[in-house]
């Protein structure tokens, strides 16, 4: 096992980091994902890192935060997304709603102020979702600070400062740092030139427009849908069918539609579910069976929460074993309404 040091797509080979050995390829599938870069925001990953500033996008960060919360006596908790795109764009919302629930259970909710500072114009930005879910954070007494582009963190004064000089003080900062693709992409000159290290590909087939034998799947690809496990899952279904044809020099018949399907835990034993693609924003409806569900789209329900719980089992026993999951890769309009 070794990380890849560099990809040389002109020579159809990759160089291994461990012993500098080259591996030749006929076809290359890149799936190097994305990870967080707290060092890109001044003040974030300094002496207060994992003391009063935590992330939960890494295992170490999540565990350290869990420990901190066990004895936390309350104050102002600020969740800040540094910049988009991030993987699992709903995770910060999910975190803050679960935090609300957790502090209720601890009996200290009245001593906790929850603030969500996002670079986007709001917590929900798609027209139908905003209408449908806009009230949910209000009801949970979670304040939103929209269009907040963090410039720096002042770890001593415990405040985050935006480019337009707004300041938010915190007692506990939970950050979703800048997300970037792996450095190997930039190092190999395969990025889009925007410093984010994602590879431009055809959004329907994942084939590189520059190299006819290179595909990019999952978070590593620069495609206009969410960076989510569900997307990678559906994408692979389409890719696998296409790939066997591509090897034989045949046209690729199947076109990925950007399908994403995400549970959003909203606390108190309830959850939300969203289902969308490149062209269709999240809509209300029932899933997966039209009219029946049992899951409700764009609406809170206990069943949705159980869906997510069930998914835990499905993940280990179906997905990881590579067994078929009886859900179509392409998004369906039946069961949805506007």
């Amino acid at each position: 096992m070794s990380p890849i040091e560099v990809i040389e797509p002109e020579h159809n080979r990759v160089k291994l980091a461990k012993d500098g050995r080259y591996l030749d390829y006929d076809f290359l599938v890149i799936a190097t994902g994305a990870r967080t870069h707290p060092e890109e925001t001044p003040g974030l990953q300094e002496h207060e890192w994992h003391k009063s500033i935590y992330d939960f996008y890494t295992v170490e960060g999540a565990l350290a935060l869990q420990k901190h919360l066990r004895n936390w006596e309350g104050g102002r908790l600020v969740v800040n997304v540094v910049e988009n795109p991030i993987k699992c764009p709903v995770a910060p919302l999910e975190f803050i709603m679960l935090a609300d629930w957790f502090f209720h259970e601890q009996g200290i909710r009245d001593r906790v102020e929850l603030i969500y500072a996002t670079p986007l114009p709001g917590a929900f930005t798609k027209p139908i979702a905003s209408k449908q879910l806009g009230h949910i954070l209000d009801e949970k007494n979670i304040k939103v600070e929209p269009e907040f582009m963090v410039m720096e963190v002042n770890p001593d004064e415990k405040k985050i400062v935006s480019y337009d000089e707004r300041e938010i003080e915190y007692d506990l900062l939970v950050t979703v740092p800048l997300n970037k693709g792996d450095e190997v992409i930039g190092r190999s000159g395969m990025d889009a030139g925007d410093g984010l290290n994602y590879v431009p590909v055809d959004k329907h087939t994942f084939l590189s427009p520059t190299y006819g034998n290179v595909f990019v799947l999952g978070d590593a690809a620069a495609v206009p849908t969410s960076k989510a496990g569900s997307v990678a899952h559906f994408a692979v279904d389409i890719f696998a069918e296409n790939f066997v044809r591509h090897i034989d020099g045949l046209e690729m018949h199947h076109k990925f539609d950007g399908h994403a399907n995400c549970f959003i835990e909203s606390g108190f034993g309830k959850g939300l579910l969203i289902d969308f693609n490149y062209d269709v924003e999240p809509l209300p409806g029932r899933y997966p069976l039209p009219g029946v569900g049992p899951f409700k789209l764009l609406e809170e329900s206990e069943m949705n929460h159980w869906g997510k719980m069930m998914f835990r089992w499905m993940y280990w026993n179906i997905l990881l074993k590579g067994a078929e999951l009886p859900l179509p890769a392409k998004m369906s309009m039946s069961g949805k309404w506007r």
Binding site: T118, L120, P224, S226, C262
Partner: protein, 106 residues
């Protein structure tokens, strides 16, 4: 969704006044929307950013680029961007450039 006339051209806009069809955009429309956003005249520095965003959106299937993409792509620093397009440059540039509002997935 509806239509409105900007700089003599009837264009399709959404509820927040963003053009929904980037092809209907022109430079006079940009100047007019800029005024509504509190920018009296568009300088070369503004245009550099607007032109870049239009070009990128073309590559990104109509999606407006993120602030980082703009700063890396144009060499204009983030702080400067906030000077050119005060209070929320990503959203302002997108509106002036006739592109969709920066959005999350939900």
């Amino acid at each position: 969704m509806g239509t409105r006339t900007i700089a003599g051209v009837t264009v399709q806009v959404n509820d927040e006044g963003f053009l929904t069809n980037p092809a209907e955009w022109n430079k006079s429309i940009a100047a007019e929307i800029a005024k509504e956003e509190g920018i009296a005249t568009l300088s070369d520095a503004h245009w550099k950013v607007i032109d870049y965003c239009r070009g990128e959106a073309n590559k990104l299937g109509g999606k407006s680029p993120t602030l980082r993409q703009i700063t890396v792509g144009t060499g204009v620093q983030t702080k400067e961007l906030f000077g050119l397009f005060p209070k929320g440059p990503a959203k302002k540039v997108a509106r002036i450039a006739g592109l969709g509002k920066p959005e999350g997935c939900v």
